[in-house]
Every structure is written in C-alpha cells, then in structure tokens.
C-alpha cells in the first residue's frame, strides 16, 4: 500500500487520542503532524501517557505544520474550526475529514441555531459528504470534505435505516432512548463529569434539546426519502449519561406500518447489512452489550418485535471508535482506496 500522509488539527481530546491510537499503528499511514497552539512543543508521549514510547511526534503550532503537504487532514477540534481552514487546505489539494459538526447539518440556519455561529463556507458545506460508510460509501470515496457523523446519529441511522428505506414504520413517531459513556462529554474540566459526580449515577440530559437531534432527523429524512424539514418524520431523541468510560447504547422504538407488520425484520436486517464488516446483526432474541465492542470499530444491533405493531432495535458501539475516530479512519480508507478495514481490525477489549 502507498502510504497516506496524514495531519491532525487539534487532537488533545478523547477523540484525538483515539485517532492517534488507531493511526500510529495503521499500516498505510504516515502521520506527519499534529497541531495544537496550546500544547505546541509538547511530546505526544508526555501528553498522553498511553503513547509514551510509541511516537516521537510533538504537537506543533498550526503555522509550522505544513499541513498542505498532507494527503488528508483530520479535524479533531471544537466545532467551528474546520470550516475556517477547509478552503485553504482544499486549494492545496488536501482532503478533509472533520470529526466535529461543521459539515454535518445541510441547513446553515439550523447550524447557526444549534452551534451559535454563522457558517463560514456554505459552498463547501454543499459539497461535503456525510461520512457514514454503510449508507453512503460511494460518495465518500470521491469526497474532498467528509463530515464524520455524530456518535448518537450513527447508531440511530444504522438502527433505523432498513425500516425507513423500506417504508415499514410510522416516521412521525420515532423514539430514540440512548445512553452514552462519560467520554462522550469530551475531555473538559466540568463539575458534572467528575468521578464523584458521574459515578454510581444515571440520568437523562439534554432533554430541552441536543445538537444531535437535528442531525438525526436530517439523515433519517434522507433515508425515508423525505424532503428536509418534512414534519412527517420526527424522532424524539433522549440521551442518558452512563457511569462508564466508553460505550453507547440506543434503544430505538418505531410503530410498524401494515407492511412492516408483514415483514420478517430479522431477515430484513441481516440482508440489509450482509457483507458489512463493521455492522453485526445479532441473532433473534439478543441484546448487545457495549463492552462487546469496546475499542473496536464495530456496531452491533438486535431487532425485536415486542408488540405486534412495534419494532425495537437495540444498537451498541464504542462512541470513540465507530462513533468517532474509527469511523473517521474508515472514511479515510475509502477516500484513498485502501482496504476498508485497514488499521481497524483490533478486537474489542473484553473484559
């Protein structure tokens, strides 16, 4: 394999260290630079104790990074950074995978509403490709700008896609009752995420509105063949915080239409994801646990019909891997013609 020259902007958060864990042992990646103005000069191995001895790389200031000599740049930054730097990189022939939200929402009004800033490059947004490989593989291969999906939206889309594509459910009353490990909140020093606050506890959060809600509905509408904003599709999204480091679980509830009631859901899902290396449809009657995918770029799901007219889909992933950094690498593999699983074959860490 030809080596892909990779740069990372940001990378001091949990998504960043997960990206580094994967890229530093990726067989076709040459990691050229990682930028952080705040940490410039610091060795990665000093910043992340897990990387000691595994790389000589140091954080460097953005202007010294020569990112324009990379083939691809990952943005593991806060929202709003990638859209500021995208055009210059593209002009230098560099492709982009943004792990933040800058290129996820098609509607700039929605973006501004949820992220509190105007969009800096609506034209690039129009060009950007939503990076969920199992549902959008061909476009990703050709993309210059890939919007890596949010973690929750990944589980909800994969879990509902077979039902929506085939018109088997009442789109107006979808429910996603989801749960995430605490790393999903990022590496931020906030009281609510302290061990003594978040441990031995469970709660819902974001009940007044969560940024992943518009992303979920946007992509579900696309799957259902509906126009954006069509009120015929609504998904009530309720996230919960679980005292675990990694892991994400979505319990998805959908009312079946008549054709849905006549469908063998197990066969439908198995067929829909046949051949997908990173989506595992469990046998009928199963319930996936998050630990079974800890650290792996893998999403497991089980489909149930607990009542004649109701489908229940249970989905798990590691929020930092298939929900973020692993999926970003999967996108990169597609963009550069590498085997889709290159660097992504590690087995989940269990127990």
């Amino acid at each position: 394999m030809a080596m892909v020259k990779v740069g990372i902007v940001g990378g001091t958060g949990y998504t960043g260290v997960e990206l580094l864990r994967l890229l530093l042992v990726h067989p076709a990646v040459e990691l050229r630079a990682i930028t952080s103005r705040k940490e410039a000069g610091q060795a990665l191995g000093d910043f992340y104790p897990s990387l000691r001895g595994r790389t000589e790389l140091r954080f460097c200031a953005p202007e010294q990074a020569a990112l324009d000599e990379c083939d691809v740049v990952f943005f593991a930054t806060p929202h709003g950074v990638a859209m500021q730097q995208a055009r210059a990189l593209l002009d230098s022939g560099v492709r982009i995978v943004d792990l933040a939200a800058d290129f996820r929402l098609r509607d700039t009004t929605e973006f501004e509403r949820w992220y509190g800033m105007p969009h800096a490059c609506p034209d690039l947004l129009a060009e950007a490709v939503y990076g969920l490989p199992e549902l959008n593989r061909d476009a990703i291969r050709r993309a210059r700008v890939v919007a890596n999906p949010g973690c929750y939206p990944t589980t909800v889309q994969i879990g509902l896609a077979p039902l929506l594509r085939h018109g088997l459910v009442d789109c107006a009353h979808l429910i996603a009752s989801c749960a995430s490990g605490v790393s999903g909140a990022g590496r931020k020093a906030e009281l609510g995420y302290l061990y003594a606050e978040a441990s031995d506890n469970f709660k819902a959060y974001g009940v007044k509105g969560h940024r992943h809600a518009p992303e979920i509905e946007q992509e579900l509408r696309r799957l259902a063949g509906l126009a954006q904003g069509d009120p015929g599709l609504r998904c009530l999204f309720v996230p919960h915080l679980v005292p675990m480091i990694r892991g994400m679980h979505s319990s998805l509830f959908a009312r079946l239409t008549d054709s849905g009631r006549a469908t063998d859901l197990q066969a439908l899902f198995e067929g829909f994801y046949a051949g997908e290396e990173f989506v595992d449809v469990l046998p009928a009657g199963s319930a996936p646990d998050t630990r079974s995918v800890r650290g792996a770029n893998l999403l497991r799901l089980a489909v149930h019909r607990p009542q004649p007219d109701t489908a229940l889909v249970l989905v798990v992933q590691d929020n930092l891997t298939k929900g973020a950094a692993g999926q970003a690498v999967q996108n990169m593999n597609l963009m550069f013609g590498l085997p889709e699983h290159a660097g992504l074959q590690g087995i989940a860490l269990l127990p």
Copy 2:
C-alpha cells in the same frame, strides 16, 4: 409511639440488608427475629459487615423464631415463600408485608405463567393490598397482607398516574425505557453480574419478557379505569442494566390525547403529588439523577413535553429503598398508625 414487634423471614439478600439498615434505627420498631435456615446461628454483624456492633441479633431457624408473636412479618425471600406461610401468620393475628411477588399479580394464571408455580392461596391474594402508598394509602392502612410493589413498577406507576387518572394519553402505546443498578439483580453469584462483566458496560435485558411487565400493565389499567386484560392499555417495558450499585431511572413516553395537549403537565403533576413527602416533582426543564436519592425513601420525577403530542416523564428512585425496603417500611408505618415518615427521614448519600 408504641413499639411494633417485627419479624423478618429471609433477609440474606440486598433487600434484606436494606430493610435491616432501616429497621435497626427505626424509632418505633422492636426487631424480634430474622429467620434463615441456611444462616441459622450466624450473627447479623458477621454476615453483613455494615451491621457489626449495631445489633446482637442472629439468624435463626424458622421454627425457632416465634414469628407468631410479632405484629408484622416482612418476607424478604425468593418468590413463592410468603404465600406458603401467610395463612398461619394471619391466623395468629400477624400482618404481612411481602417484598417478593407472591401477592402482586391479581390473576393466578398470570402468576403461574411468570413465576413458574401455581399460587398457593388465591383467597389471600384476593384480600391482599397493593402497597404503593401514594396511590393506595387507605387500603394499606387496613390491610392484613400487603404486596410490596416491584421496583420498576413503582417508578412507572408514579410517573404515569397523573396522566392516566385524567385520561390524557393514548393508553395503547405507552413506553417505559428503564434502567437499574446491578443490586436490582439480587445477591446471586452469577457470571453476568460479576464486576468484570457488569462494569463499564450497558445493555438492555429481559427483552423477551420481564416479570415486572404484567405487574406494570395490571396497575396501569387500574389507574386508567380499565378492566384487567383490556388490550386498550399496553406498556412496552424495556429494562437496561447500568454499572452502578443502586439506583433506578425510568424514561416514560406517552402520546398525548387532545385533552392532554391542552393540559399544563407541570401543574398537573405538582398538584397530583402535593403533600406527598416521598414524591418530589422537579421544576420544569429538570432531569433527576439517581444519586440524588441514593439510600433515601424518595422518588423524584420531571415531566416534559418534547413534542407537542408527546409527554416524557423521567423518574428516579433508589431501587432498594423506595423501590423495595423503604417502601415496605412506609407501608408498615401506615398499617400501624405511625407517622408515615418514621424511620425514613435519612438524607440521600451524595456524593
């Protein structure tokens, strides 16, 4: 206060030690005996390290317990024990609080289906009172046999009662997406509940059917004024296992009827539970966390309307306290004319 003479049958599980924690410092309780054939002779303080130095009591064999001299006997036993011993105790004038399921399901066929044994005393079952004080206080005061509710059913009933009593929701499509700490599984040496299996993990369980499902639907029907078995009420119940010791969280979804859409839900709930010492309706926009009730006989809830036609109720309790032993003590207090909060005023342990 006159002292209530109390006996406990069983009590070697988590519900048992919680009951002991509460009863040993209850101002109006004289704990006379606790029976366990297996542990007979062992001091409570040796069996439960938390009780060392707090009681001289020892487990004794059932036949040596003189339970017939008690005013009330708690059964903290596996399902099926209380119904075998109830009649003899009642005949001696002893009242009963059963923390297991023997007297919860009104329909003996349902009982047999879910618990795998025929019911031993259908006539006492007919007499038994369902022990959820906030919804059934007067009957409990007079009861000879109280069926202490299941932990999940407690949260679902308290969370939905105001909506059902006033006919504000579509009863046919209720959803309860619930989560429990691991102590809910009891003190059983099973692989799935080992620390190395249950920690850093989240999963749904019981998706093929859970014993609390018929109890939930039975009592919700009662609240809605429907006949037992009426298919006009169905509640899809999906429990999840959370890596925490104690705590239970229920996210309840209900479609509002026209009158429901016209109702101020916050005012409804505040009014419904006004004066209830053990139900705390949070301000609008809140999300309760389980730790806020850790070890307290208290249930906290918040009501939301995330979509115009959907109500979302978030409910928390400590599964061992308000969800089991605390509620049992609350029932006892009612039965013996004690202040309802006697022995139940401990503040939650936070952090």
Copy 3:
C-alpha cells in the same frame, strides 16, 4: 437536649454537603446559617439535589450571617479562611471547628511551607486542640478551637496509636501505604478527577510530598512521646487514588521491637479501643473493606503479624464521614456535652 445553634462557613464542597447531611437530621442542632459569597441567595436544595425538600435554608453572604449568634461555627472552607475569621468569632463567644488545615500543624514554619501562606494567628494556633476524640477527648470538651484532623492522619493515628503509646515498634521506619476514593480530592473541576480519567484506574500520587505527611508525623511523635521534629520517628506516607466515590484504606507497616514481638497485638488493640463506639477492632485474621463504613462515622481496623517482627494494621473509614464531617460532628457533640453519638448513628449504606 438543649439545641446547639450552628453556623457553617463555606460548605459548597463534598465535606460541606456531608456536614449538612448529618446536621440537618441531628436531634440537638439548629442550623442557623451557611455562608458562601459565591452562592449567596441560592437555596441549599437547588445547589445539592440530595437536600431538596429537606431545608429552607439558603446560602447567604458572610456579612449577613449573624454567625456571632451561633454557639459553634464549622469552617468547611479552603485552607486559610478559618484563621482569618477565628478571633472575631471567639471574641463573640462562638466556638470553632475547622475542617481545613489552619489549626492542625503546631509549627507555623511547617504550615507556611506546606500551605504557602503565613499563619494569621499563631496564638490561637497554640490554643487550638487537635480533634481526634479517641486520642484527645478531654481537651476537645474544653476547646474553643478544634482542628478537625485530616482524613489520612485519622486512619494512621488510630491504626498506630496502641503500638506507639506502648513503645512496641521501631518508630524510625513506619510505612503508611494508603488509598482514598476520589471525593477526597474535593469538588474541583480538574481534568485528573474526571470520570473518564479516574475510573478504571489506580495510581499513587503526591509521592514528592503530601500535606498530610507533616500532620501524620507530628501526631505520631506525640503518641510516641517524642519531641516535635525528632528524627527518631519517621513515617513514609504514600497515598493512592482509587476509583470509588468514598472510602479510605490504610495499610500500615511497622517493625516490632523485642517487646512488640512479645505482645499479643490483637488483645492490645481490643483493649486499647474497648468502649470506643466509633472504632471497631475486627477479629484476628480479618481484612476490613471500605464499603462496610460507607456513610457511617466509623473506623474499622484489623491487626496482623505477617512476619514475626512486623505488624500490619489495616484501617478503613469513610473519608467524608469519620475522615471529615462525621468527626467534626463528634467533636461538636463533645464540646457541647451531648451524647458523643448524637446524630451519628446511621448505619453504613451497603451495598
């Protein structure tokens, strides 16, 4: 009992909420005021979800607190606050229990070295009494200013006192290998105490020097009858951070002298702490676990002689209760002639 009028300065940290948990249900306490400039005006029940509905009290600004009308004021503040306000309160006849370190170190040079500020009132320091009731009960009864001990020092002193008082060990080579739950770090938004950092992890910390080290040696010298600074006593103190909310464990190693080798250590410890309600000497061969004292004002220990010339003492407590707020209440009880266990009889929360 006459009611003791109590004020609290500070109280927004974990020690504060634990103090409130105990004082709000203390049978002889009237909580008059709690001050916090930052949170002035906020209801306690809004700040601490566990206290909702349990008090009408609000944080108030210090100048509005009328602390001079209290019988006793607890300082649950950062280090350095109590010593600034102590004199004025004493002049008003108010007694003081400081949960911080202002009055722990007898030597102002040591204080300045470890806490980075000069001592504001050396004369009061000279008067202050070290508040470890089991070792200093009479002085506490009469004290105007009580220095509530550090959490680690409490375990080390109780664990070694019988050996030191009787001259049974080589004082020059004591080792305290200790471990604390994360709440010991306080309620501070620091990266290292985030759930995703502190969970599923174990490490030593403070190995270059910890503020509790001089306090430990000071008090051990006193127990051994040595002058302060005497190099004949040294205790190597190594703290570790455990992924649990509450709990503290100390493994204490001491080389036995000839007379130590000739002593029945089990009998020594049982005798030394006979009659102490809050120190529980376990039977020979035991190992105490921290959960057995969770939320209780209790210290449990076991003494071993794993090698003929070595004593090993294992000690546990809840760092927030017997290690901080519970001990402060115990001191208050002594100071005001209350039963020493008033308000401290809650049983540990297990599981």
Copy 4:
C-alpha cells in the same frame, strides 16, 4: 514469517479471552484448536461476544483437538491441568507455555502446600523455564516448557531486580503493597466479586497468605543470588482489590544499604532496562497509572527515594496482558524466533 501452529487448552476464563484477542490478530500465528470439555461444540464468537465474526473456531473436546500437531500449546487452565498433559505433548514435540502455576515453584513441597496437590512431574518441573523475558530471555528461547509468571510476581520482580542484582537493599525487609483489578480473581461466580460487592470498595485480601508470595520470594532470591529458602530474603506481600476491571499496581518499599544510598537510582533503572521494549522507566518524580497500559503488553515503573535510606518503586501493568496473556505471547515469540513484539504492538486503550 513462518506460521506457528498454536493450540490452547482451556481458555474459558479472562486469561483465555485475552490470549485469543492477541493470537487471533497475531501475524505469525495459526490458531488450530482450543479445547474445553464443558463448552465443546460452542463457537468462540458465541461464548465471547467480543469475538463474534472474528473466528470460525469452536471449542472442542480435548481428545479431538490434535494438539500434538501444534508447535506450541498454551494452558489457560486451572492449576494442576498442565502438569498432567505436559509429558505427552512434549513427547510429540510440542512446546508448552503454562499460564497457570504448575511450573512456577521449584520446590514441590511448596507447590503442594500452596496448591493442595502433589506435583505430577517433578522432572519436567526441573526442566521448566520461568518465563519472565526481561530477566530470563535466553533460557526462554530454548525452553520446551515455560512457566508463565504470576501477575503480581511480574511487577515485583521487574520493580526490584535492579536493586537486588546490585545488592543495594536490605533483602530481609522488602515490602510489596500491591493492588489488582477484579479480573485478577478470574471468571468465577463468587459473591465477593459481584459488581454490587466489589464496586465502590477497597480492601486488602489474602493477608493470611497468598499463592504468589512463595513465587515472589523464590524469584527475588534468585535475583539476589541467594539460595532458595534463605531467610536473609523476605518480602511481605499484601495484595488489595481495586474496583476496576483490569490493571495492577505495586508499591515496593526497600531499605537501602550504604551502597544503595550512594547510587543514582534513576540512572540505575534506566540503564538496567535500556532497550527493553516492554518495560518503560518513567522520568524522575513520576507516578504511573494503570490505565496507561490498559490492554498493552507493557510495564511502567517509577523509582523514588522518599527518605534517604528508602527506595520506593511504583509499578503498573495490565494484569491480563503483561501480567498473563501478553507475556505468554512474548514468551512464544522468543521460543520460535519471532520478533519479540510480534502481535504485541497494540497501544493502550485510553481513556
């Protein structure tokens, strides 16, 4: 690389699944068979959810395993199994790595005392090589039978080796205060390891004697050049149980001799382990955390001199990786002339 044909006996515990996680993606391993009489016929992917889709292999009965066609067989079995089957395998030319204790203790009397059974093949025991590569590399290369070290002994030996080899410490008073995650107890359904018992708790265990104690002293004597049983070396070993899944931490205390006091310990350790890929000596003043090696075949340590005459060495590893399965693979790599790091380059999973 030529492929090594590998068999596994046992493998249904945590050491087994860790071995599978490593071997299934090892570039030079062909996994031929895994035996379990109890699970015979079951697919690995059904038994371990983390392995679903990663192997077609099934457990098979021992007699159907054709282990004699393997190059090497790993025993991930209870103690006592490997010594029964070793000779037949060796006679077929198969080499053995035993992850249990059958070949660790040189003295069969000691083995019988600690493991409660007579040794089945003392002659093979005499031939067996203790598999700690950093201290015994050459012998391992040639070995037919390798005794994979215990987890605790690995940390203690690596941590003390530089001091003992150079005669820098008082061998008669070594102390190892160690801590392990719960997976160290194995995959056994015992009450004490339930989530609700082991979580939010810390305790010492095995204080009356632990099987790793004789192994530690045996190997420390070898390092110190002392005869077996020489009372001039004693190491007091106190293990503790930490509420985490994986991870092991050892705090090692040693009194320095005069030459030890004159030695630059940091330089000593850095020099001693220079070139060792799997031992990382941290910079002076550090404290390693277990999560920094989670899932990695790596041991990190820091050496301190907290008092002029005392050395403190802090050591961490993942008990299942460098403490068990990873070290076993490292031994296999040496035995078959593979690069020592083959299959062992995964980066620790952090957070």
